[in-house]
Subunit: 395 residues, 2 copies
């Protein structure tokens, strides 16, 4: 009667959400300060002051009918010009405003791109660990998600496994660097190898294999790590960007797609993006928030706090005997579950009031995700609990 | 290579948009005051002051991380409670907050509901004239749009034609009252007849036939006309509401779906809506605008101006010999093209600097849409041009 797969999807509450709800219940029972909730990837740092200043300025000084009125479907032309200039200055690209399509954040960027390029039975490659929603977004297009196992421990791309997974049905490859949940950033060398392979395979199969780069964490990198801008490495690239983490605006749903101007039939690709946005019901991205982005184009939230948190958590947990992936970016620490069963490990962690997320649904059983987008004090207070948890396995 | 139907969709610029662009060009040539643009259905009245006050209050006084943070996917619980209470008080219903799902406006409400209920080869009935995007939204689900011709001149439902169109594949019926582009409002009597027929057909075919009511114009009715609240007339109803016109916030994309609590398997229906929202990439509706709605729940934009415009336009055009549908709601006047060919008529109108929209794409050839969401002065100034246009046919 109702669309079965969607009823199922709507009923399966996400595991992360379940843990989060458990945390709220537990906090009510024993006090918020005694529960160490590391489950949710919600920025803990407020939006920069410039965002709220921009909102107030727009509301007070911008014509109200225009401010809250429709923009063109691809986004306000002035806003897209500002973003194109910003990208070109920063990454030395030649992107035009008409290569940019404003969206309601990364999730909508991805669904729009997937609908634009994926047809029934096409295959889309992702690398473990991967954001489970990729599968949800692909399902409606009839395409298939193909997960390629990453290298043990480093979670860098296993090039042999990658090559073996590509076949004539391969239509797209998703890169998510910095990665949720591993925090891993792909080096220039890795990207170059991947792109060389893809170009070879494009030739072999005689059709494009698109790179879809999911970049909500681009700005969240530490120690001057460079995140290669993929349009400079591979022509058939769609960039899916979001301001959710960069400006701490996850609930406002604002981001964009860049269709590389060097893509084969870039005009058709952009038209397909516009058509997909329209068919999925995205009339335009919030007109006010588009203009907020224009005004705050050079800003980010104060992400220095995430670096403090990362160092504190990584150094201490490693010292306690946890096997951690060193995160160059994002705000997650990816840790091998002691005892190897991540669900068991997370249940045991709960006994110490630690709320962690088993990474099975990310395609990496045996690992857990610890979100460190929290107050630094929570990490400090949680360290004894992490120690006890480790000791319970070391007896 | 790209999804063909979406490339096509992205390339075909909407006819309305074309006329609008022509208008901008023409205004640059001969001055804005000399071009009478009646093409776009964009509210001309600003959002009420309470909206901008609410925004400033939220930005200044609400915790910033929470204000701009994710809400739950179905929308903030407090916001949904406020909306449920408002609906229950106004329409004497028994809607719970968990029957409401916050969306990015009516277009996304419709795509989400269509994905939740329509499967390949299902049929969805609409009545002429109808919003052409219905077809676009349905296409991705694989379902088929079936247009039922409305009664001549009144554009009320032709019950015989409606009955003849229903078959075992009929899964949904869209009602858009007040109607874009005719301005027609369905009476209680019409609604009761339609619902009786649908209940009979549900029994006959042994499966639900859903009523999807597209209500962006609900608040825009004049002379105390009543718009029946469909949940009170038919159990299997999805209400797709938007604040775009009610609060003059079309660019901010905020609205909601109500899943009638009396629907068969209402829990599954709501789950399907949640699943569809997730699969289409709608993570949540703008967290800030959700709270703006909560604060402005009792307000509307000053729609009295639309009534002034309607009366001015309807009375004068009728007097000039135009055959107009009397609009009880929305902000469109639906007029029979003199000479019967709407495209020819609109081209001729251009010679008098009048920009009107041929309604062929609404399923009603021979009619034109005149949007009166404009400054009243524009209508006053345009009357001589309308007169000349009429006279050119009366020679």
């Amino acid at each position: 009667m109702y669309t079965e797969s969607l009823v199922k999807l709507g009923k399966v509450r996400s595991e992360i959400r379940e843990i989060f709800e458990y945390g709220n219940k537990r906090k009510a029972e024993i006090g918020a300060e005694n529960v160490f909730d590391f489950s949710i990837g919600n920025p803990s740092v407020p939006a920069p002051k410039s965002v709220n200043d921009a909102i107030i300025d727009l509301v007070n000084n911008f014509d109200s009918v225009a401010l809250h009125g429709y923009t063109s479907a691809q986004g306000d032309a002035k806003v897209r010009t500002t973003i194109a200039n910003y990208i070109n200055n920063r990454f030395n690209t030649e992107i035009a405003p008409d290569n940019i399509y404003m969206t309601c954040g990364a999730a909508s960027s991805l669904t729009i791109v997937f609908n634009a390029i994926m047809q029934k039975d096409d295959e889309c490659i992702v690398f473990t660990p991967y954001f489970p929603e990729y599968g949800v977004f692909l399902e409606r297009t009839g395409a298939k998600l193909v997960a390629v196992k990453s290298e043990d421990k480093t979670f860098q791309v296993d090039m042999k496994g990658f090559e073996a997974a590509i076949n004539e049905k391969t239509k797209a490859v998703v890169i998510n660097s910095p990665n949720n949940p591993s925090g891993v950033v792909y080096s220039v060398e890795t990207i170059e190898k991947m792109c060389d392979l893809l170009r070879k395979k494009e030739k072999e199969y005689g059709h494009p294999i698109f790179l879809v780069t999911d970049e909500p964490y681009r700005e969240l990198v530490y120690d001057d790590i460079e995140v290669p801008y993929l349009i400079n490495y591979y022509d058939d690239t769609f960039v899916c960007y979001s301001y959710s983490k960069a400006l701490s605006l996850p609930g406002e749903r604002i981001g964009y797609i860049v269709v590389s101007p060097k893509m084969k039939d870039a005009g058709d690709a952009y038209a397909a993006v516009c058509g997909a946005g329209r068919a999925l019901g995205y009339v335009c991205a919030s007109s006010m928030y588009q203009r907020v982005i224009e005004k705050c184009i050079d800003d980010t939230a104060d992400i220095s706090i995430y670096k403090v948190n990362r160092d504190l958590l990584y150094n201490n947990l490693t010292e306690m005997g946890y096997e951690c992936v060193y995160p160059d970016g994002a705000f997650y620490l990816f840790v091998k579950a002691m005892g190897d069963d991540a669900h068991e490990f997370c249940e045991k962690a709960k006994e110490h009031e630690l709320l962690l997320v088993p990474a099975d649904s990310f395609g990496t059983p045996g690992y857990v995700r610890i979100s460190y987008c929290v107050q630094t004090k929570q990490i400090e207070d949680a360290l004894p609990a992490f120690k006890k948890l480790a000791e319970s396995y070391q007896k």
